[in-house]
Structure formats: structure tokens, C-alpha cells
């Protein structure tokens, strides 16, 4: 059990100001080795106050600006090491808001944003994820082979400090289904922690680039891979697996931050003892209550290879002491072979980070037939709903519903479509179950036409952001529908079979509207504004206290938008499309910077690096047909771009 920072209570605006001063200087304190964390916190706070007028001042006065004083409604507790000007955790804070309190860049001056430097990674594949910035250093993890590169931000960029190349088993490259992405690292306790495609979680010394520990969690020879970004909570590294369709038995695990030792593992299907369901488990809806539902909601032994991997984002509420993450589809089995709800696929978990025990669960797409993985991020916020402030999580699912869920109990408060949805007519809030449209069911050998959303989802892993200023969620979304079924010849491992051909195409609005970047009010389940995009929006989102939202497009536009109105204030164009997530940070000169990857790939962009044949609209699970024009407007790439207002 690690002595660790005492958990922070949910941060409201004024408290965050004070905390930031101490934390920003504590960076310097932490850089020195040998401080125990608890002592470091206390001493750091003291040093912070004393040193305020000296080393920290330039940074603090420019970077530390109070968010506006009214009720900032995000319990955006900061991970240890975080401050306004750093980015130590994938979603910025534990709540995964991707909101930065930096406000030097504003709606008024963002039009003057200029690219200051860039770095070419040398890998031309989908660059998902985001950089980290801490202690004056920027850290990026490339796609396979998952290189960790550190840049010295005190020098003109790119000033590469060191590179750590993990020895990744190339078998993993052959197994990864969709692209060999890496969704990024987390920083804590002087270590950069990330996953490799071949199922290692790796901790590297943030100062020197030397390996601290590496823990093998799976064998890529069995089809399992890892792509997700870990979350570090109280000395525990929370990770999950990928490869749900590859007959894996999905899991999440916690590793000891100091040693990499596995502390607990929770399976996502199977008997309660493997799923870590015990007397503390209190799902809100009755159909998720009962013994061993992770086996009884299947037939026979199918749960043993029930998929349901945890390849998405993890968030954490320190006050409730719960981590939240979702599970993927049960795709290894044809749906007709697995009647039943197939728990706990397409499920949002709330678990105790100490023990992994489940506290509640909510399954979004029982008996999934459309490939609607449930792994998208869960953003934590406190929102006024029907006159009462509720502690919620907000989740934009592949299945097209935007869920607002009480994060203490798992009760669904709001579930409204944020894109066109027709596989279900609605979610019944009394039972928590979707009300299915029978004509959108899918069966082998039957063609089901015009199913919305397509398998790639109304939104995939690309994360949304939440602004406590506007109380709006900023959502990268996709407007595609699909025909599912019919027969096409396939083969795997020398074995021929026929598969359901999935043809994806533009939803309502046509090819000029295959994507949308929208602002969403999660208290009411309504879109507030939207920016129509020609291609699905496959990048993540950043929103700042300066009132600016950033996102990127598949054909390479990087845009800054007014968070209140949706007006595009600035844009630039990259050599390759954007599937990564922008961040912001304070440089050593006290200025605010923006950083983002270019490098198109991921599922929707697979047509570009993979040189898929355009004359086959069914290829890459249908994604090719949806965006056959993409290769004509962008090309493979892989770069890190850094901007500031000049």
C-alpha cells in the first residue's frame, strides 16, 4: 500500500486556485528524488507558499488564472502532479473533462495562433491519444512500436531529450484489429506509465527515460493487445485490454505504481468471483441484480470467451472513491449463438479502485447485434437536473445515446440520441433498457438495411470535453448508417466463411455531413449547436477557460471554436488527418501552448495508411465505403504540432 497524496475532495473553483499555487511549485519539489509522497505534499505546499515570489511567480501569474467564480460544476479533481499548466493524465483531470483553466488564449486572440514547431514521429499510422506535459517536459507515445519520446520544453522545439523504445512483440502488430494505435500515457510519482500493443504496462523514469518496471499482462499470441491509456489513482495503475472480438476474456487490472505488481483483476464476463461482484454491488436496475449474471446471461460456456474488453478511458471520483470505465461488445460469437443479455458486455462499471470490486453497473446495449462497444469515456460533472444538482457521469456511446447517469448509483437520468438512432426507439428510464426496433435486428444471412448509427458508432473512442464555464459537453461525432448482412466471402487463418457485409454510408444530410462537432446539454439531453463536417469527426476535444474549444478533422483541419456559440475562430491544415486529442499547457516562458498530433488512421481513417482498395466498399468493416474520398484529401502522416499565440 503506497503512501500517496491524500485524496482531494472535489474541487470547486476557489479551492482549485489555492491548490494550484502549491501544486505548480510542487513540480519542482517532486523533481528531486527521495521525497515520500506524503511529505512531499505537505512540504510542497509550504515551499509553494514561500517560493511563490521567486521561481514560480512568472509561471503562476500568467498561467494560474481563476476560473470564473460561479459554480464550476465539475468535480474535476486533479491527479497528483497536476496544475493548470501541466497535463499529467489523459483526460487532464480525474473527471476526464479535458478542460484547462488556462485562459491566456481567448476567443479574441486565438485567431493569432501560430505553429511554432513540429516533430515527425517517423511512423505513418493513426496517432490517437495525447501528449503529456509535466516538469517542463513533453512526453508522447507513438503508435506501434509504442516509442516514448521526451522533449525539453525549455529549449526551442523540438528539443528531444531521450527516447525509450519498448521491445514490443511484432506478433501484436498482426493481431490488432483496427490500427496499431496507442492512446497515451499517465504521469505520477516521477514515472511515465503507458501500455504497449503486446500487453505490457511499462513505467519509465520521467527524468531519465530509464525503465523502472514492465509487467506483462497478456500474450498477444492469444489475440489480446493493449491500446488504452492507463489512469493512475492513489498509487494504482488502472489498465484494460483490447481485442474483444478475438476470443479474449475481457478484464481490467490494477498495478502497483511503484513496482508494477498486479493488485487486482476484474473480468468483464463470468461468475461473480471473477467479475469481483460481491455484497457491495448495488446496480440500480433489477435486471442487473442477481448472482453470476456474467454466466447466466449467456448460454453454455460462451462467456469464457465473451470478449467485453476494456480498451477505452478510465475516470475517477475521489469523493465517492469510484473508477468508471466501459466494456466492449461480445463480438466473438454470432448473436444467435448467444441469446441473452450477455453481461457484462457494453457495460459501464463503477468500481472500487483499491480492490476492483464492482459497486454498480449499467449495460447500455443488452445482447448487442451492431458492434456498439461501450468503452467511450465517462465524463464526471455535477449538473443541475430538474432543479437539483446531481453528481453524474456523461457518456456518449457508440449506440447513439448520450447518457447522463447518477455516478453514485447508476441510475439513468437522461438518455437521448445525440445522432440519428433507429436500432432502438428510446431508453426506458424506468427499466433502464433500450426499446428495440425489431426491424433493425441483425441475423446472419439476412440483410438489415439503414441501421443507425453504423457499427463505428455515433462516436467512437475519440473523447469529448466538458466546460464548467458553459456547462456544455463538446462532442466529436459521426453521422453514418449501415446496411448489415447479406453475404460476402471471407477467410481467416485459412478458414473460409461468409460474413455479414457491413456497408456504411452517410446518414441524414448526405456525404457533406458525415460528421458533426456538437455542443450538448447533458442536463436536458439536447444539442445546443453543431458544426457540420464532411467527414466523421475522429479527433478528441479540448476546451479551455479562455472559452475556446479545439478539435480536428479526418482530412486534416485543426480548428478553434467559440465554446459558447460554435463559431469557428481559427483553423489550420495539417499534412495528415487528425485522430488524436489536443492538449494545452504552460511553457517555460509562461505562455500558453496547444499541442496535437496529426496522422490519420484508427478505424475510420484506416483507408488512408492501409491503402485499402477503394472499389470495395465493404472493406475495413465498411469504413472504406463511408469515406472513399478520404485518401484524395489527406495522406498518411505522423506529427506532433505545437502552437502558441505570437
Amino acid at each position: 500500500m503506497q503512501p500517496m497524496m491524500s485524496r482531494r475532495a472535489p474541487v470547486r473553483g476557489s479551492r482549485r486556485q489555492a491548490g494550484h499555487h502549491a501544486r505548480s511549485v510542487k513540480q519542482g519539489v517532486q523533481a528531486r528524488r527521495g521525497w515520500s509522497d506524503m511529505a512531499g505534499l505537505a512540504l510542497g505546499a509550504l515551499v509553494g507558499v514561500l517560493a511563490w515570489g521567486t521561481a514560480a511567480q512568472a509561471q503562476a501569474t500568467l498561467a494560474i488564472t481563476a476560473p470564473h467564480a460561479s459554480s464550476a460544476s465539475a468535480p474535476a479533481a486533479a491527479p497528483p502532479g497536476d496544475s493548470a499548466g501541466t497535463w499529467v493524465s489523459p483526460g487532464k483531470d480525474y473527471a476526464n473533462t479535458r478542460y484547462s483553466p488556462l485562459d491566456q488564449i481567448t476567443t479574441a486572440n486565438v485567431g493569432q495562433l501560430k505553429e511554432l514547431w513540429s516533430y515527425t514521429t517517423g511512423i505513418q499510422d493513426g496517432h490517437e491519444g495525447q501528449p503529456l506535459v509535466v516538469n517542463g517536459t513533453m512526453y508522447i507515445v507513438t503508435p506501434f512500436p509504442d516509442k516514448l519520446i521526451a522533449f525539453d520544453l525549455s529549449k526551442p522545439g523540438p528539443a528531444k531529450k531521450w527516447e525509450y523504445d519498448p521491445p514490443v512483440n511484432p506478433v501484436a502488430f498482426g493481431k490488432a484489429c483496427c490500427d496499431d494505435v496507442n492512446r497515451g500515457a499517465s504521469y505520477a510519482d516521477g514515472k511515465i506509465v503507458f501500455n504497449t500493443l503486446d500487453n505490457h504496462t511499462v513505467a519509465v523514469d520521467a527524468a531519465t527515460g530509464k525503465l523502472v518496471w514492465s509487467t506483462k499482462l497478456g500474450d498477444p499470441n492469444t489475440g489480446e493487445t493493449m491500446t488504452m491509456a492507463p489512469l493512475i489513482v492513489n498509487g494504482r495503475v488502472i489498465v484494460g485490454d483490447s481485442g474483444g472480438e478475438m476470443a479474449v476474456w475481457g478484464w481490467a487490472q490494477a498495478l502497483d505504481l511503484k513496482t508494477g505488481r498486479v493488485l487486482w483483476r476484474a473480468r468483464n464476463t463470468g461468475p461473480d468471483r471473477d467479475v469481483l461482484i460481491g455484497p457491495g454491488f448495488k446496480p440500480f436496475y433489477s435486471w442487473m441484480q442477481g448472482k453470476d449474471l456474467g454466466t447466466t446471461s449467456w448460454r453454455g460456456q460462451q462467456w469464457k470467451i465473451g470478449g467485453s474488453a476494456s480498451w477505452g478511458w478510465v475516470s475517477y471520483d475521489p469523493e465517492l472513491d469510484l473508477i468508471y470505465f466501459g466494456t466492449s461488445n461480445p463480438g466473438v460469437w454470432n448473436p444467435d449463438m448467444r441469446p441473452g443479455d450477455n453481461l457484462w458486455s457494453t457495460t459501464i462499471w463503477a468500481r472500487d479502485p483499491k480492490t476492483g470490486e464492482a459497486r454498480w453497473a449499467y449495460q447500455m446495449t443488452p445482447h448487442d447485434q451492431w458492434d456498439y462497444d461501450g468503452v467511450n469515456e465517462n465524463i464526471l460533472a455535477d449538473l443541475p437536473i430538474n432543479g437539483t444538482v446531481r453528481k453524474v457521469l456523461v457518456h456518449f456511446d457508440r449506440n447513439g445515446f448520450g447518457y447522463t447517469i447518477d455516478r453514485a448509483t447508476g441510475e439513468v437520468l437522461v438518455a437521448e440520441p445525440f445522432k440519428t438512432v433507429n436500432w432502438a426507439s428510446k431508453v426506458d428510464l424506468k427499466t433502464g433498457r433500450p426499446v428495440l426496433n425489431a426491424d433493425k435486428a441483425t441475423h446472419q444471412g439476412r440483410l438489415t438495411k439503414d441501421v443507425c448509427p453504423s457499427s463505428s458508432g455515433a462516436k467512437d473512442e475519440q473523447p469529448a470535453a466538458f466546460s464548467p464555464q458553459t456547462k456544455l459537453f463538446y462532442v466529436p461525432s459521426t453521422n453514418l448508417c449501415m446496411d448489415y448482412g447479406g453475404i460476402e466471402a471471407r477467410y481467416i487463418s485459412g478458414t473460409p466463411y461468409v460474413g455479414a457485409a457491413v456497408r456504411m454510408y452517410a446518414g441524414p444530410g448526405g456525404n457533406g455531413a458525415r460528421g458533426e462537432f456538437l455542443a450538448w446539454d447533458a442536463a436536458t439531453g439536447k444539442k445546443v449547436w453543431g458544426i457540420t463536417e464532411k467527414f466523421p469527426v475522429w479527433s478528441g476535444t479540448l476546451v479551455t477557460a479562455g472559452g475556446v474549444v479545439f478539435y480536428g478533422t479526418l482530412d486534416g483541419d485543426f480548428k478553434a471554436v467559440d465554446a459558447k456559440t460554435g463559431k469557428v475562430l481559427w483553423k489550420t491544415h495539417f499534412e495528415s488527418g487528425i485522430v488524436g486529442n489536443p492538449i494545452t499547457y504552460t511553457g517555460s516562458d509562461g505562455k500558453q501552448y496547444i499541442a496535437v498530433y496529426s496522422g490519420v488512421g484508427g478505424w475510420m481513417g484506416a483507408i488512408v495508411p492501409g491503402k485499402l482498395s477503394i472499389d470495395d466498399p465493404w472493406a475495413a468493416l465498411g469504413a472504406v465505403g463511408a469515406v472513399p474520398d478520404l485518401p484524395s484529401v489527406t495522406k498518411p502522416g505522423g506529427m506532433l504540432h505545437v502552437f502558441a499565440v505570437q
Partner: protein, 300 residues
């Protein structure tokens, strides 16, 4: 005598001399091939292995020998994205076995046809012949699961269509890829009596069933297409990139020329063989009455 092959047009001319037929006037490939470059799985017997001892490896050697070229391999597990990462990445020029209707590549004419097959212990008190045999409702049935989001092999779909669900056990076709023959685990399970019958693609059945220490019976499925609509029988072709029409024509010539030798190789590996169908996209419920190969340790 080793013939140097200087260029595409010359290649076609030489081929024309080798074969009895006329030389085709086709756009030659842009550069002279230095090798017969094959995209293949390094650990997938009986098809292919890094030891080059699978039947696809043997057939590749045969064709390459015709062209006086060495065989080179781009190795990758044959999973999702295989074509994208190998053939379409330009790392190799031919895939040795794809369904003839496989749209991701340009296919040659098929060089063999096979079907899914039951595999069970010869000493069993039951025999399984068709998907409608009532005994299937009681037996422990093994099938390969292939990891292609919601798609499964035809036996899986046919069983589900009949409501045969609870007694079905899935064997990931990749198994433990770090060990040899990961797809064979299902046959080992039959031999060990962990399951009663496996329903697998014919070449797996014919090859591994003869290599177990207990006699196993292989019964190819009779119907080309199941009542549920699932095809059990498939014609298998070579596959090249869509643009490589000249190469496909060349390969077709070689397949005709080497038909007897190729069939001989397939028989050696115990592949259950059916007559290749005449037309593309052969469907329909043709009932096959051709006797098919039964493999047991007493044969071959």
C-alpha cells in the same frame, strides 16, 4: 537451365513458349519479378508455416519453379487486416488460398474445393453425418471461433439456426499462437474426449485427424449449402492485387499446367476434395454425391 527473366513482355513471351497456348497480349508488369513473393501465415498448418512445410508452401514452390524464381515470404498471422498489411502494402504479390469470391483481391480460377467436416473418435458409439442428425443435440460440439466481430464459421451459424447452443464450445482459431498449430487444439480436444465432435474446415480435419494418437473419423458435410443458408463448401483460389490482372492470368496458366501435381500435394495433406464448381459464386443447394476422402490413421 535457369532462364533469366528480364522483363514483363519477355516474361509473357517465355511463358508462352513454356505453355502450349498462345501468348496473351496483356500489359506486362512494371518491373521484372525477382522472386515469387507470397503473403503467408508462419504458423498455420496444414496451410503454411515458417518451416515452409504446409501445402500452400509446397504449391508456391511448384509455381515458382515453373517461373524459375525463388520463393520469398512476407509472414503475418492471417487475421483481420492481413490483406491490408501484406498484399496491399506491397510486401508480397500473391496469397495462396482465398475463397474464389473473396472481393478484397483478384482471384484466379480455383485450384481446389473442399468443405467443412465432422471429426469424431472412430470408437464413438455415434456417427455424425449431417447437421440435422439428432445426436448433435446431445453431443459436446466444438467449433472454431474466428474473431471477426459477430461473424462465425458456417457450422456456428447452422447450429444456432437449429437452436443447438448450450453444448457448443468455441475454440479460438488462433489459440495460443506462440505454440505450433494453434488451430489444432480443437482436434486434440476430440482425441482427448474433451468434446465429442468438432466441425471444422476440411483441410484442418483431414490433416490433424491423422496425426492424433487415437483413430478419428472425418466426415465431410454432404450439402454445399446448409438449410440455414450457410455455405459449407468453398472453392479456393490464389489471390493477387486487383490491379495485377496479368499476374492472375499467368497464375491461371500455371494452375492448369500443374493441376495433377497440385491435387497430389493436397491429397498428401489429407484435404477432403470435391470437384471444383464451374462458375463463380456457385450457390444453391446442390447435393454432392461424390465420395470424399475419409482420413484415419489407417490410411496414408
Amino acid at each position: 537451365m535457369r532462364v533469366r527473366i528480364p522483363g514483363g513482355a519477355a516474361l509473357m513471351a517465355i511463358t508462352g513458349l513454356m505453355l502450349a497456348g498462345p501468348v496473351h497480349r496483356i500489359q506486362p508488369p512494371a518491373a521484372a519479378p525477382r522472386a515469387f513473393r507470397v503473403c503467408a501465415d508462419p504458423n498455420n498448418m496444414p496451410f503454411s508455416s515458417s518451416r515452409r512445410d504446409g501445402f500452400e508452401n509446397r504449391i508456391a514452390e511448384l509455381l515458382a519453379h515453373d517461373l524459375r524464381l525463388p520463393v520469398e515470404y512476407a509472414w503475418l498471422p492471417q487475421g483481420r487486416g492481413f490483406i491490408r498489411k501484406t498484399l496491399n502494402a506491397g510486401l508480397c504479390d500473391v496469397v495462396m488460398g482465398v475463397p474464389r469470391d473473396y472481393d478484397m483481391v483478384r482471384t484466379t480460377h480455383p485450384y481446389f474445393r473442399s468443405t467443412y467436416a465432422f471429426v469424431f473418435r472412430a470408437s464413438s458409439p455415434y456417427a455424425v453425418r449431417t447437421m440435422d442428425d439428432s445426436v448433435l443435440r446431445r453431443l459436446r460440439i466444438g467449433i472454431h471461433v474466428i474473431g471477426d466481430d459477430y461473424q462465425n464459421t458456417p457450422p456456428a451459424e447452422a447450429l444456432a439456426a437449429r437452436g443447438i447452443i448450450d453444448n457448443v464450445v468455441g475454440f479460438p482459431i488462433f489459440g495460443d499462437y506462440g505454440k505450433p498449430d494453434p488451430a489444432a487444439a480443437i482436434i486434440h480436444a476430440v482425441a482427448r474426449d474433451s468434446i465429442d465432435v468438432a466441425i471444422v474446415w476440411g483441410p484442418f480435419a483431414g490433416y490433424f485427424a491423422t496425426r492424433e494418437h487415437v483413430p478419428l473419423t472425418v466426415v465431410p458435410l454432404e450439402h454445399a449449402v446448409d438449410a440455414s443458408g450457410q455455405p459449407f463448401a468453398y472453392d479456393i483460389s490464389l489471390g493477387v492485387r486487383h490491379a495485377d490482372s496479368a499476374f492472375a492470368v499467368l497464375l491461371d496458366s500455371l494452375l492448369v499446367r500443374d493441376r495433377a501435381a497440385i491435387t497430389g500435394i493436397l491429397r498428401t495433406y489429407g484435404v477432403p476434395l470435391l470437384p471444383v464448381t464451374a462458375t463463380r459464386s456457385a450457390a444453391g443447394d446442390e447435393r454432392l454425391t461424390v465420395p470424399v476422402a475419409h482420413s484415419s490413421p489407417t490410411q496414408e
